[in-house]
């Protein structure tokens, strides 16, 4: 056999191996989390764990509802805030902006992407929390400390912005210039070209990027826990405190991992998150599949 073919086969084998290995990580994680959280299962029913709001781990009461709701709220706000901003920014940078503008904005985005969560958290506590407490909340409620769902959502939104913008920019700029020329020649404005051609062409990519960003948001930890109030109660409004799952794990794991039952409960929280992410991804894929059918 030819040496080049051999190379190709070898490469194929190695790549396949790497892919499988990296895939295995998911299964190892999933099974590991399940095994680690087994002690909680043994003592409680799933229904109790998921739908009870009673969180007294030292007394053996584990109700995860507040955390699940907290996660959903914060993630929802973050995505609702970041998505339009990211889309508009990416469109501006790829379709409208001169190249020197890009030169300045790209490093800014990189910084945004690379700052440690702690910094976002600090920034949130120094700026966002007081703003909500002093400026925003008084319009709606008597008093709010500012450590709220909203603060968590805003900070988290800003954290996923760079991911979204970077991916969108890459995806948009992979659209051949010919498409733009074709549309512009017909007398379409730039925005129309973007709306009907570019976004349409890249729709699957955009959706996939959003899914990634949501996954990322679901798992983001430190920054959120510093600003969201961490109250294990189901939030009822944007100005309530909440307690997302990653914050729960991060807050307690370092201190409590030497207590088996507590650790199991935290691992169960991670398992919930795992399942939520899985569930969400599967759903989004079904939607994506439908969309792709209609778009292409």
């Amino acid at each position: 056999m030819n040496i080049r073919i051999l190379k190709d086969r070898t490469a194929s084998g190695v790549m396949f191996f790497l892919t499988v290995i990296s895939l295995l990580l998911v299964f190892v994680m999933g099974i590991g989390l399940y095994l680690k959280s087994a002690p909680v299962f043994e003592e409680h029913t799933l229904k109790e764990l998921l739908f009870s709001a009673n969180w007294k781990p030292m007394k053996g009461q584990f109700g995860f509802l507040p955390f699940i709701m907290g996660t959903i709220w914060v993630t929802g706000i973050a995505v609702a805030m970041a998505l339009p901003i990211a889309l508009l920014t990416a469109v501006f940078l790829t379709e409208y902006a001169k190249s020197y503008v890009r030169k300045y904005v790209f490093p800014a985005l990189d910084i945004l992407a690379a700052l440690p969560s702690v910094i976002y958290g600090v920034w949130g506590t120094l700026l966002i929390v007081p703003w909500i407490s002093n400026k925003l909340a008084p319009h709606f409620v008597d008093f709010s400390t500012g450590y709220t769902v909203l603060a968590g959502g805003i900070v988290l939104g800003i954290m996923i912005l760079p991911l979204l913008v970077s991916l969108f920019i890459e995806i948009f700029s992979s659209v051949p210039a010919e498409f733009r020329e074709a549309s512009l020649s017909l007398g379409a404005t730039k925005w129309q070209t973007t709306k009907f051609v570019i976004i349409r062409k890249t729709m699957p990519g955009i959706l996939a990027a959003v899914v990634l960003a949501i996954s990322r948001a679901l798992g983001e930890t430190i920054a959120v826990l510093m600003v969201c109030g961490n109250l294990p109660e189901v939030p009822r409004s944007l100005l309530d405190s909440c307690y997302p799952i990653p914050a729960l794990i991060a807050n307690n794991y370092g201190e409590m991992l030497s207590l088996p039952l507590y650790e199991a409960a935290l691992m169960f929280a991670a398992l919930i998150l795992f399942v939520v992410v899985l569930f969400f991804n599967v759903i989004s894929r079904v939607v994506l599949y439908r969309l792709e059918k209609t778009f292409n």
């Binding site: 892919t19 920014t89 945004l112 690379a114 920019i169 925005w191 990027a209 996954s215 794991y253 998150l273």
Partner: protein, 280 residues
């Protein structure tokens, strides 16, 4: 009407871009204004002295070096693992391959797992094997953490890769392995973006390294010694009661930001040179 729409959206876009820029400036200003005072040569050239944590002499060179070690090693490892995977998914497998479908799903899930869980996982395994916190542990866990980021963000970009180019290389008798070079050239900016995203996550993550790399005042001389990292330095010093130490946390954050800035500019510069041949 359409011009009205055009104007509105143009306006919104500029606002959005300014908002993003505003966030960056606001965050950097917050850090810089508090960290600049504590910034000095000592900070980045000295190890912490005995009284460093009550505001006395020393610097956080240990954290800088530790972070660079971990980020450097895990980025290289991550690239080595994820580029082949991305290539496999996009070139070797058919576009509608079931395996690729499942793989992408799996990476998305990994993407959503909080870093603390990676840390916990790594820690559990290390305890099981009787290993201490170490540089190696940190590198491995951070590598695992950023692999999904690498793979999925590169993959999203590679999927938009024009198929004509692949067909062309095949026509020339290239094996799939050999067309890798061409694919690489075309998606080079995408790799840069993915790398910067991953480096950002790697350099900024405190939770995963807390359990696996630990935090210590000395610079590790081997893979089996614990290592400090900048985000942990920030995290830890922020909680100090002493104002000087808190300010040093901001100084550490400032250093981190500068490192990122340098990496980003260098990365963009290199890929710009790489991608001048890119198809438009």
């Amino acid at each position: 009407m359409k011009f009205f729409e055009e104007k509105i959206f143009r306006f919104l876009m500029i606002v959005a871009t300014l908002v993003v820029f505003g966030f960056v400036i606001s965050i950097i200003w917050t850090i810089a204004s508090r960290g600049w005072g504590a910034m000095s040569w000592d900070m980045i050239t000295k190890l912490p002295g005995g009284g460093f944590y009550i505001g006395k002499e020393g610097g956080f060179l240990n954290a800088i070096v530790g972070s660079l070690y971990i980020v450097g090693a895990s980025t290289i490892l991550g690239l080595l693992i994820s580029i082949p995977v991305v290539f496999y998914l996009n070139v070797y497998l058919k576009k509608k391959s079931k395996f690729a479908y499942i793989a992408r799903l799996a990476y998305d899930i990994l993407f959503g797992i909080p870093s603390i869980v990676y840390g916990a996982f790594g820690f559990t395994i290390m305890i099981y094997l009787g290993l201490r916190t170490s540089l190696a542990g940190g590198i491995i866990v951070i590598t695992l953490l950023i692999i999904p980021i690498f793979i999925r963000s590169m993959d999203e970009i590679a999927r938009e890769f024009p198929r004509d180019i692949l067909d062309t290389t095949y026509s020339l008798g290239a094996t799939r392995y050999e067309s890798m070079r061409v694919v690489l050239r075309q998606i080079a900016p995408g790799i840069a973006t993915a790398t910067l995203l991953s480096v950002g996550r790697a350099i900024g993550d405190a939770a995963a390294v807390m359990f696996t790399a630990g935090y210590t005042d000395s610079i590790p001389t081997s893979l089996s010694q614990p290592a400090a990292t900048l985000p942990l330095a920030v995290f830890f010093q922020l909680s100090s009661p002493v104002k000087e130490v808190q300010d040093r946390a901001y100084a550490a954050a400032l250093v981190l930001t500068l490192i990122v800035l340098i990496l980003s500019i260098a990365g963009r510069f290199i890929t710009n040179r790489f991608s001048k041949n890119k198809l438009q």
